[in-house]
Amino acid sequence: MSDQDLRSAALVIGHKDFAAGIVSAVTAITGRTDLFRTASNYGLDTRATEAMLREAIADGVRVIFSDLPAGSTTMAARRAQRDHPDITVVTGISLPVLLDYAFAAPDAADAADAAVEKGRAAMMVTRGSARAD
Protein backbone atom coordinates (compact mmCIF):
# COMPACT_ATOMS: atom_id res chain seq x y z
CA MET A 1 0.00 0.00 0.00
CA SER A 2 1.33 3.41 -0.91
CA ASP A 3 1.65 6.24 1.57
CA GLN A 4 -1.22 8.06 -0.09
CA ASP A 5 -3.44 4.97 0.01
CA LEU A 6 -3.05 4.62 3.76
CA ARG A 7 -3.71 8.30 4.45
CA SER A 8 -6.80 8.58 2.27
CA ALA A 9 -8.17 5.62 4.23
CA ALA A 10 -8.38 7.81 7.35
CA LEU A 11 -11.33 10.05 8.14
CA VAL A 12 -11.69 12.65 10.90
CA ILE A 13 -15.23 13.34 12.10
CA GLY A 14 -16.32 15.82 14.74
CA HIS A 15 -18.83 18.33 15.96
CA LYS A 16 -19.50 21.40 13.79
CA ASP A 17 -16.19 22.48 12.16
CA PHE A 18 -13.89 20.44 14.40
CA ALA A 19 -12.63 18.08 11.68
CA ALA A 20 -12.00 20.78 9.11
CA GLY A 21 -10.23 22.87 11.73
CA ILE A 22 -7.93 20.22 13.13
CA VAL A 23 -7.09 18.82 9.70
CA SER A 24 -6.28 22.35 8.51
CA ALA A 25 -3.79 22.51 11.39
CA VAL A 26 -2.26 19.19 10.26
CA THR A 27 -1.94 20.63 6.76
CA ALA A 28 -0.32 23.81 8.09
CA ILE A 29 2.29 21.76 9.93
CA THR A 30 2.93 18.99 7.44
CA GLY A 31 2.18 20.78 4.19
CA ARG A 32 0.12 17.75 3.16
CA THR A 33 -3.46 17.99 2.00
CA ASP A 34 -3.98 14.31 1.22
CA LEU A 35 -3.74 12.88 4.74
CA PHE A 36 -7.27 12.86 6.10
CA ARG A 37 -10.80 13.11 4.83
CA THR A 38 -13.12 15.18 7.03
CA ALA A 39 -16.77 14.99 8.04
CA SER A 40 -19.14 16.74 10.45
CA ASN A 41 -22.23 15.55 12.29
CA TYR A 42 -23.71 19.03 12.22
CA GLY A 43 -27.46 18.93 11.68
CA LEU A 44 -27.52 15.14 11.54
CA ASP A 45 -28.99 12.59 13.90
CA THR A 46 -26.95 9.51 14.82
CA ARG A 47 -28.60 7.42 12.09
CA ALA A 48 -27.68 9.91 9.36
CA THR A 49 -24.15 10.26 10.72
CA GLU A 50 -23.81 6.48 10.71
CA ALA A 51 -25.04 6.31 7.09
CA MET A 52 -22.43 8.87 6.11
CA LEU A 53 -19.70 6.83 7.79
CA ARG A 54 -20.89 3.61 6.14
CA GLU A 55 -20.60 5.34 2.77
CA ALA A 56 -17.07 6.43 3.63
CA ILE A 57 -16.18 2.87 4.66
CA ALA A 58 -17.57 1.57 1.37
CA ASP A 59 -15.37 4.16 -0.29
CA GLY A 60 -12.22 2.84 1.39
CA VAL A 61 -11.98 4.45 4.83
CA ARG A 62 -10.38 2.08 7.33
CA VAL A 63 -9.59 4.33 10.31
CA ILE A 64 -12.06 6.79 11.82
CA PHE A 65 -10.86 9.50 14.20
CA SER A 66 -13.63 11.13 16.26
CA ASP A 67 -13.55 14.04 18.67
CA LEU A 68 -15.56 13.10 21.76
CA PRO A 69 -15.98 9.67 23.38
CA ALA A 70 -19.54 10.52 24.44
CA GLY A 71 -20.38 12.17 21.14
CA SER A 72 -22.81 11.00 18.51
CA THR A 73 -19.84 10.91 16.12
CA THR A 74 -18.28 8.10 18.14
CA MET A 75 -21.61 6.33 18.64
CA ALA A 76 -22.17 6.34 14.88
CA ALA A 77 -18.63 5.11 14.22
CA ARG A 78 -19.02 2.27 16.73
CA ARG A 79 -22.31 1.21 15.13
CA ALA A 80 -20.71 1.17 11.68
CA GLN A 81 -17.75 -0.74 13.11
CA ARG A 82 -20.07 -3.48 14.35
CA ASP A 83 -20.60 -4.61 10.75
CA HIS A 84 -17.03 -3.81 9.72
CA PRO A 85 -14.70 -5.31 12.32
CA ASP A 86 -11.68 -4.35 10.21
CA ILE A 87 -12.39 -0.67 10.91
CA THR A 88 -10.41 1.07 13.65
CA VAL A 89 -12.08 3.84 15.66
CA VAL A 90 -9.96 6.31 17.63
CA THR A 91 -11.76 8.81 19.84
CA GLY A 92 -10.79 11.80 22.00
CA ILE A 93 -8.27 12.92 19.40
CA SER A 94 -5.94 15.91 19.47
CA LEU A 95 -3.47 17.50 17.08
CA PRO A 96 -0.51 15.45 18.40
CA VAL A 97 -2.52 12.26 17.73
CA LEU A 98 -3.16 13.16 14.09
CA LEU A 99 0.40 14.39 13.53
CA ASP A 100 1.85 11.15 14.87
CA TYR A 101 -0.49 9.14 12.70
CA ALA A 102 0.40 11.28 9.69
CA PHE A 103 4.09 10.56 10.14
CA ALA A 104 3.70 6.85 10.92
CA ALA A 105 5.12 4.28 8.54
CA PRO A 106 2.58 3.76 5.76
CA ASP A 107 2.19 0.07 6.50
CA ALA A 108 2.30 0.33 10.30
CA ALA A 109 -0.51 -1.82 11.65
CA ASP A 110 -0.27 -0.21 15.07
CA ALA A 111 -0.18 3.39 13.83
CA ALA A 112 -3.44 4.27 15.58
CA ASP A 113 -2.30 2.77 18.90
CA ALA A 114 1.02 4.59 18.71
CA ALA A 115 -0.71 7.87 17.87
CA VAL A 116 -2.98 7.55 20.91
CA GLU A 117 0.04 6.98 23.16
CA LYS A 118 1.69 10.05 21.64
CA GLY A 119 -1.45 12.08 22.29
CA ARG A 120 -1.59 11.00 25.94
CA ALA A 121 2.07 11.81 26.44
CA ALA A 122 1.67 15.25 24.83
CA MET A 123 -0.75 16.46 27.50
CA MET A 124 0.74 18.36 30.41
CA VAL A 125 0.10 21.15 32.85
CA THR A 126 2.70 23.84 33.41
CA ARG A 127 2.66 26.49 36.10
CA GLY A 128 4.75 29.60 36.25
CA SER A 129 7.14 30.49 39.03
CA ALA A 130 8.48 33.88 40.11
CA ARG A 131 11.77 34.88 38.56
CA ALA A 132 14.65 34.95 41.01
CA ASP A 133 16.30 37.96 39.35
Binding site: H15, G43, L44, D45, T46, R47, A48, L68, P69, A70, G71, S72, T74, M75, R78, R79, R82
Partner: protein, 163 residues
Protein backbone atom coordinates in the same frame (compact mmCIF):
# COMPACT_ATOMS: atom_id res chain seq x y z
CA UNK B 1 -36.49 18.56 41.56
CA UNK B 2 -34.28 15.48 41.26
CA UNK B 3 -35.01 14.94 37.57
CA UNK B 4 -33.79 18.27 36.30
CA UNK B 5 -34.70 17.76 32.66
CA UNK B 6 -37.05 15.56 30.62
CA UNK B 7 -35.48 15.72 27.18
CA UNK B 8 -36.39 14.53 23.70
CA UNK B 9 -33.21 14.01 21.70
CA UNK B 10 -32.84 11.54 18.85
CA UNK B 11 -29.11 11.21 19.56
CA UNK B 12 -29.92 10.06 23.12
CA UNK B 13 -26.65 10.10 25.09
CA UNK B 14 -24.12 12.37 23.38
CA UNK B 15 -21.93 15.41 23.96
CA UNK B 16 -24.67 17.98 24.60
CA UNK B 17 -26.28 15.69 27.16
CA UNK B 18 -23.21 14.47 29.04
CA UNK B 19 -21.09 17.61 28.84
CA UNK B 20 -23.37 20.49 27.78
CA UNK B 21 -26.09 19.78 30.35
CA UNK B 22 -24.33 17.26 32.54
CA UNK B 23 -21.67 19.56 33.86
CA UNK B 24 -23.69 22.72 34.72
CA UNK B 25 -26.55 20.68 36.22
CA UNK B 26 -24.06 18.34 37.94
CA UNK B 27 -26.07 15.39 36.70
CA UNK B 28 -25.36 12.14 38.48
CA UNK B 29 -27.75 9.86 36.64
CA UNK B 30 -29.44 9.47 33.27
CA UNK B 31 -32.64 7.55 32.64
CA UNK B 32 -32.64 6.46 28.99
CA UNK B 33 -36.15 5.39 28.02
CA UNK B 34 -36.11 3.32 24.85
CA UNK B 35 -37.63 -0.11 24.34
CA UNK B 36 -35.01 -1.15 21.79
CA UNK B 37 -32.01 -0.05 23.85
CA UNK B 38 -33.49 -1.58 27.00
CA UNK B 39 -33.54 -4.94 25.21
CA UNK B 40 -30.00 -4.79 23.85
CA UNK B 41 -26.85 -5.30 25.92
CA UNK B 42 -24.74 -4.15 22.98
CA UNK B 43 -26.61 -0.84 22.67
CA UNK B 44 -26.34 -0.27 26.40
CA UNK B 45 -22.61 -0.88 26.37
CA UNK B 46 -22.25 1.56 23.49
CA UNK B 47 -24.03 4.33 25.38
CA UNK B 48 -22.33 3.51 28.68
CA UNK B 49 -18.95 4.00 27.01
CA UNK B 50 -19.63 7.71 26.60
CA UNK B 51 -20.69 8.40 30.16
CA UNK B 52 -18.27 9.52 32.89
CA UNK B 53 -17.71 7.09 35.74
CA UNK B 54 -19.50 9.33 38.26
CA UNK B 55 -22.72 9.30 36.22
CA UNK B 56 -25.13 6.35 36.50
CA UNK B 57 -27.21 5.26 33.53
CA UNK B 58 -30.53 3.44 33.83
CA UNK B 59 -31.70 1.77 30.62
CA UNK B 60 -35.46 1.21 30.84
CA UNK B 61 -38.41 0.42 28.61
CA UNK B 62 -41.42 2.74 28.56
CA UNK B 63 -43.30 0.39 30.88
CA UNK B 64 -40.37 0.24 33.30
CA UNK B 65 -39.98 4.03 33.23
CA UNK B 66 -43.63 4.49 34.18
CA UNK B 67 -43.31 1.93 36.95
CA UNK B 68 -40.06 3.35 38.36
CA UNK B 69 -40.56 7.08 37.74
CA UNK B 70 -41.43 7.88 41.37
CA UNK B 71 -38.22 6.23 42.53
CA UNK B 72 -36.15 8.15 39.96
CA UNK B 73 -37.83 11.41 41.02
CA UNK B 74 -37.12 10.67 44.67
CA UNK B 75 -33.39 10.29 44.05
CA UNK B 76 -31.67 13.13 45.93
CA UNK B 77 -29.06 13.44 43.17
CA UNK B 78 -29.83 15.44 40.02
CA UNK B 79 -30.71 13.43 36.94
CA UNK B 80 -32.05 13.64 33.39
CA UNK B 81 -34.68 11.52 31.66
CA UNK B 82 -34.14 11.04 27.94
CA UNK B 83 -36.27 9.75 25.11
CA UNK B 84 -35.27 9.47 21.47
CA UNK B 85 -38.60 10.51 20.03
CA UNK B 86 -41.74 12.54 20.73
CA UNK B 87 -44.08 9.56 20.87
CA UNK B 88 -42.15 7.93 23.73
CA UNK B 89 -42.23 11.15 25.76
CA UNK B 90 -45.95 11.57 25.02
CA UNK B 91 -46.62 8.08 26.38
CA UNK B 92 -44.68 8.91 29.54
CA UNK B 93 -46.53 12.22 30.03
CA UNK B 94 -49.87 10.48 29.59
CA UNK B 95 -49.03 7.94 32.28
CA UNK B 96 -47.06 10.09 34.75
CA UNK B 97 -49.02 13.09 36.09
CA UNK B 98 -45.88 14.51 37.70
CA UNK B 99 -44.11 14.81 34.37
CA UNK B 100 -45.25 18.26 33.28
CA UNK B 101 -42.21 19.90 31.68
CA UNK B 102 -40.44 18.71 28.52
CA UNK B 103 -37.34 19.92 26.74
CA UNK B 104 -37.05 19.56 22.96
CA UNK B 105 -33.32 19.01 22.54
CA UNK B 106 -32.89 17.53 19.08
CA UNK B 107 -35.22 16.07 16.47
CA UNK B 108 -33.25 16.10 13.26
CA UNK B 109 -34.02 16.06 9.57
CA UNK B 110 -35.67 13.02 8.08
CA UNK B 111 -37.92 12.55 5.06
CA UNK B 112 -41.37 13.97 5.76
CA UNK B 113 -40.25 16.37 8.46
CA UNK B 114 -40.35 20.16 8.13
CA UNK B 115 -37.76 22.39 9.76
CA UNK B 116 -38.93 24.41 12.76
CA UNK B 117 -35.60 25.28 14.34
CA UNK B 118 -31.97 24.62 13.50
CA UNK B 119 -32.22 21.41 15.53
CA UNK B 120 -35.97 20.65 15.37
CA UNK B 121 -37.70 19.07 12.37
CA UNK B 122 -41.25 17.69 12.72
CA UNK B 123 -43.81 15.69 10.78
CA UNK B 124 -47.45 16.73 10.93
CA UNK B 125 -48.16 13.84 13.30
CA UNK B 126 -45.32 14.85 15.62
CA UNK B 127 -46.55 18.44 15.65
CA UNK B 128 -50.06 17.25 16.54
CA UNK B 129 -48.65 15.06 19.30
CA UNK B 130 -46.80 18.01 20.82
CA UNK B 131 -49.93 20.18 20.64
CA UNK B 132 -51.91 17.45 22.39
CA UNK B 133 -49.33 17.18 25.15
CA UNK B 134 -49.40 20.97 25.64
CA UNK B 135 -53.20 20.94 25.71
CA UNK B 136 -52.97 18.42 28.54
CA UNK B 137 -50.88 20.78 30.63
CA UNK B 138 -47.33 19.81 29.68
CA UNK B 139 -45.00 22.80 29.36
CA UNK B 140 -42.85 22.23 26.29
CA UNK B 141 -39.94 24.34 25.11
CA UNK B 142 -36.91 23.93 22.89
CA UNK B 143 -33.34 24.49 24.08
CA UNK B 144 -30.43 22.45 22.77
CA UNK B 145 -27.83 23.61 25.30
CA UNK B 146 -28.10 25.55 28.60
CA UNK B 147 -26.61 28.74 27.17
CA UNK B 148 -29.15 28.83 24.35
CA UNK B 149 -32.43 30.74 24.39
CA UNK B 150 -35.49 28.87 25.70
CA UNK B 151 -38.05 28.81 22.88
CA UNK B 152 -41.70 28.08 23.79
CA UNK B 153 -43.53 25.41 21.80
CA UNK B 154 -45.86 27.90 20.11
CA UNK B 155 -42.90 29.83 18.74
CA UNK B 156 -41.23 26.60 17.60
CA UNK B 157 -44.33 25.39 15.76
CA UNK B 158 -44.87 28.78 14.13
CA UNK B 159 -41.33 28.59 12.77
CA UNK B 160 -40.75 32.08 14.17
CA UNK B 161 -37.38 31.23 15.69
CA UNK B 162 -35.97 29.69 12.55
CA UNK B 163 -32.88 31.71 11.74
Amino acid sequence: MPIELHRIDDRLIHGQVVVGWGQPLELRFLVLVDDEVAASEWEQELYRMGVPSDMRVEFVSVAQAIERYAAFAADPKPGMLLTGDIDTMARLCAAIPALRRVNLGGVHHRAGRAQKLRYIFLTGDEEAELRAMAANGVEISAQDVPAARVIPLATVLAGEALA
